[in-house]
């Protein structure tokens, strides 16, 4: 019989529990960034009670255990402890009643409603945070968005508990470094989305390290214990689950925001690599390269930031913070854009000075049919905007400038959005046509917004050939932009951009 226990949540109890159920001391647990992070996070989630489930067999840890820990001289425990968090108060006696009494004051369904998720504690020294699935921050009226969430079901002594999350875990620095942990979190999302098997951390590291790194003096060639992966090795791990690795450089805030928004909106988690630099007065010290899994964003800026000579307005440029599974900090950890003398992300990392996280590149695990890159569609939108803008200024000077929302979507998501959110707001003929038209599985959706209202939706086939005209459907939610495009279409000069030409062709013919 499992000796479960129920404790009220507070950070002292959590620290004590983490140290008791692992090989870390109280002081070591207190010194971890995760502890400081959990203190703020559980406060935000309003955690009240923890149920401690001992002797839990965790699949991912068992794989790691079988591949490495079992052959150590020291006897490590293969069982873990699972901590379940709830936002209601109850005691040990209450919980016993829930299990045995049909007339208990708190019913299993009440527990499910109050469930905040779980944290697995590994019986290891220092690196003790195993698979962790926790509720996200509230969405704050749509400001925060976590499009990559999936449902995790757990069974606690027969009680079914569900949480919408994406699994997180700390690197153990043995079978997994940060890159492996970030990949593992991404695969938790893509495994459900694209139907591939989800490898454990040790399986990811083994596949990635099949490729010996080119720069041997700078990289360890050892698979286990693993001290980190290169981008090439991470790409190999992505390829191994049947997905295509795609790398996008992130030299500035606009590049990062535009790309992460475009793919996250299609529920695809992505990896951001950063350089962590300790800036102390005038001194800069490179701490190293780090990888995190991007899981969400906050559209906290009231207005978009103009881009380029035409002042193109992209919705993604409203992002003020991104949320990431940073294995050294915690799940859904905030990373805030800071534009000072140099652009960087502010994180919870600590050092003697200010730790600047300087974005390096994004690594996307893409389904093989997603062939058309973001840049191609983004370039077409910039050109369309540049053509529309002088015309708008002449014939509709009182109308606000167009803001563009560009993201990858699926045919199912697009049609569900039309049915749930746009029916009644746009002409019936447009609804009927959008719902019944044949469309490819993946599309780039380019929405032109005027004063936050959709005015025009352009859908481009994301599975096609880049040099071909990819426009597959248009939804004319409003009349302003379609009127401008119809008028221009008969007289426009050659733009030398197949996608822009496709838009003008559409308005010539329809």
């Amino acid at each position: 019989m499992s000796e479960y226990s129920v404790i009220p949540y507070n950070i002292q109890n959590l620290v004590e529990c983490l140290s008791q159920k692992s090989l870390a001391t109280n002081e070591q647990v207190k010194g971890k960034l995760h502890t400081r992070y959990f203190e703020d996070y559980f406060l935000a989630l309003n955690a009240k009670t923890v149920v401690i489930e001992p002797n839990y067999v965790d699949h991912d840890f068992l794989e790691d255990y079988a591949a490495y820990y079992v052959s150590c001289f020291e006897k490590y425990c293969r069982y873990t402890t699972r901590l379940h968090f709830f936002d209601i108060d109850f005691t040990d006696a209450d919980f016993t009643q829930i299990l045995i009494s049909p007339s208990a004051a708190i019913q299993p369904s009440d527990l499910n409603n109050a469930y905040l998720g779980f944290v697995i504690v590994k019986c290891l020294p220092i690196t003790i945070i195993g698979r962790t699935c926790l509720k996200t921050y509230p969405d704050d009226n749509g400001r925060r968005s976590f499009p990559i969430l999936r449902e995790y079901s757990t069974n606690l002594f027969g009680i079914e508990l569900k949480v919408q999350s994406l699994a997180f875990q700390e690197q153990d620095t043995v079978v997994a470094a940060c890159a492996t942990s970030a990949l593992w979190s991404c695969f938790q999302g893509t495994g459900k989305l694209f139907q591939h098997s989800i490898p454990s951390p040790v399986e990811i590291t083994k596949v990635a390290t099949d490729h010996v790194p080119e720069n041997l003096p700078g990289n360890s060639a050892r698979a286990l214990p693993n001290s980190g992966l290169t981008a090439t090795q991470m790409a190999l791990a992505v390829r191994d689950v049947g997905l295509e690795p795609y790398i996008i450089g992130t030299p500035d805030q606009y590049s990062l925001n535009s790309a992460l928004y475009a793919y996250l909106r299609c529920h695809i988690p992505l990896i951001l690599t950063i350089h962590l630099v300790n800036v102390n007065g005038g001194n800069e010290q490179l701490m190293g390269g780090h990888g995190v899994a991007i899981t969400g964003f906050s559209l906290g800026n009231n207005t978009p930031v103009p881009f380029g000579p035409s002042g193109f307005l992209l919705r993604a440029s409203r992002i003020d913070k991104i949320y990431a599974h940073d294995d050294q900090v915690g799940p859904f950890a905030k990373m805030e854009h800071i534009v000072a003398t140099r652009y960087y992300l502010k994180t919870s990392w600590q050092a003697s000075g200010i730790v600047e996280a300087r974005p390096w590149f994004l690594l996307l695990p893409l389904y093989h049919k997603i062939r058309i890159p973001f840049d191609l569609i983004h370039g077409a939108a910039i050109m369309l905007d540049a053509i529309i803008e002088p015309a708008r200024a002449i014939v509709m000077p009182t109308m606000s400038r167009v803001e563009w929302d560009i993201h990858l979507t699926t045919v199912n998501d697009f049609k569900s959005d039309i049915l749930k959110n746009m029916k009644g707001m746009i002409p019936e003929s447009e609804v009927a046509s959008a719902l019944t038209v044949d469309l490819p599985r993946f599309m780039w959706r380019v929405t032109a917004l005027i004063d936050n209202s959709p005015n025009l939706d352009l859908l481009f086939d994301a599975t096609g050939i880049a040099q071909h005209k990819l426009l597959v459907h248009v939804v004319e939610s409003g009349q302003e932009l379609s009127s401008i495009l119809r008028a221009l279409s008969k007289n426009i000069v050659n733009t030398k951009n197949a996608q822009v030409e496709a838009v003008f062709d559409w308005f010539k013919q329809n």
């Binding site: 360890s220 606009y254 881009f307 009349q479």
Partner: protein
Amino acid sequence: MQATLYKSANNATPFAFSHDLIEWVRSAAGQSAMNSAIEKSTLAANTLSESRKIQPEQLHVPITL
């Protein structure tokens, strides 16, 4: 093709302009504005694409923290 259900985004009544717009696009000023818009936007998109490219040697740098 358009149904009449939709209320325009800013309550403007913009639909008598198409003749003026066509005249403007056909004019030398209009043609010049269009050409300039196309050139500048192509350059902006290409510059962004170039800046996003990763140097091959960067792919071999370890990500270790």
